[in-house]
Symmetry: C2
Subunit: 237 residues, 2 copies
């Protein structure tokens, strides 16, 4: 009979595609590729030392996640979101993160509490370092909350929405003003999870996430334009 279901402990029989998805998504979230940049299949295939097929498959998965956009027979581009798009995504994010926060309390473990607290303190003590790293910490904290919600579909949905905002640098970590610094908000969210806050999950999440989106010139100047050799400094590996 053997194993009908692959045992959870089995070595994950990974494929090139999953590695490429992770690498490309991280590169887009970290803004090494910027909105509007063209993603050339052959070039990426050369960079990663694989054929075009797994690159194509990875790009199509990212397209489904909203990070890149396909123009048929023209190619894949890092997606461009308007201010309005960001607002829409963010309002949806608020609803979903509030729901997640609501569910967290029931699934709280000592281990999870410890991890969240460590992240909060790491963020509070953040005074030097790049904006990218601040974003990475921010995302990691929220992902931990999504995971703690215990609803994997909620988690997956948020993972398909929020990275779009990060890819657009929709959050700013430059103002170290103590009151406004987004990283300082996270302890309040943790307090809600721990039941040590008098705010409802909705209130806490709204006050954390309700921001306006006004795009600076975040986009590649080549966006959707006739394709030219793009800046080569956005490469990696």
């Amino acid at each position: 009979m053997s194993d009908l279901i692959t045992p959870a402990s089995a070595p994950p029989p990974s494929t090139l595609k999953v590695h490429l998805v992770a690498a490309l998504r991280d590169a887009i979230i970290a803004r090494r590729y910027k909105p509007g940049d063209r993603l050339n299949e052959s070039q990426l295939a050369r960079q990663y030392g694989v054929s075009r097929i797994p690159v194509r498959e990875a790009l199509q998965q990212l397209q489904e996640q909203g990070l890149v956009m396909n123009h048929p027979r023209r190619g894949m581009f890092v997606n461009i979101l308007s201010d309005d798009d960001c607002q829409k995504i963010n309002s949806l994010r608020i609803v979903l993160e509030a729901e997640a926060l609501k569910l967290c309390h029931a699934h709280l473990t000592a281990e999870a509490e410890k991890k969240l607290l460590a992240l909060v303190e790491q963020m509070e003590n953040w005074h030097t370092g790049s904006e990218i790293d601040a974003a990475a910490l921010d995302l990691e904290f929220h992902r931990a909350l999504w995971n703690l919600s215990g609803n994997s579909y909620l988690e997956k949905t948020l993972n398909a929405l929020v990275p779009m905002l990060f890819a657009h640098q929709a959050l700013e970590y430059t103002s170290h003003n103590e009151k406004l610094w987004p990283l300082n908000h996270h302890r309040k969210l943790l307090d809600v999870v721990l039941g040590k806050s008098n705010q409802t999950p909705e209130e806490a999440m709204v006050s954390h996430l309700r921001v306006r989106y006004t795009n600076p010139e975040r986009y590649s100047s080549l966006a959707y334009a006739p394709l030219k050799k793009q800046s080569t400094d956005s490469q990696e590996h």
Copy 2:
């Protein structure tokens, strides 16, 4: 200069993949392929008269949408959801559909109202016909609401969640008991959109969608089992 952005009126330069995605998704939602069924790339390629590549790409897009599941190096299977999975998806659906319903009122047009009303009446007069068709009408009505919400990301998210429930026949249309018949609920939702209800969007959506999920034997008996020639009557075209 020409067109920097493909004009909306342009003939959609479609690909084989998008046709396959639509065909396969419809087949899964209509339960011509059932949860647990194996989807063989070569076989589908032959059926549709194309090569394996566009079939693979279509299946991977459906995987991202949760309708099929990949077992690395084993193949794609129509996804199987446990009762618990259905509960989680449904609770998320309620939150999202309530949000959509809330947003609809602001975007209401005479044209949209006419379309929704037509669908409601079509459903109320539904007395004969298959369960599949009832499900199709149900889904069409809800999709119209999602679209009317004006938030394309909300729409896309719901389109990635709700079809999973339909693929599992999680809704039953067999009880023609007037009070319980789900198709009869839709007028109440429309009333909320029109502002003619004293229910809040949340209340209306909760009472419409809060159901329990208990799976009958909805699954293919071959689910995840050593692969055998599967029943050939689930083919099409």
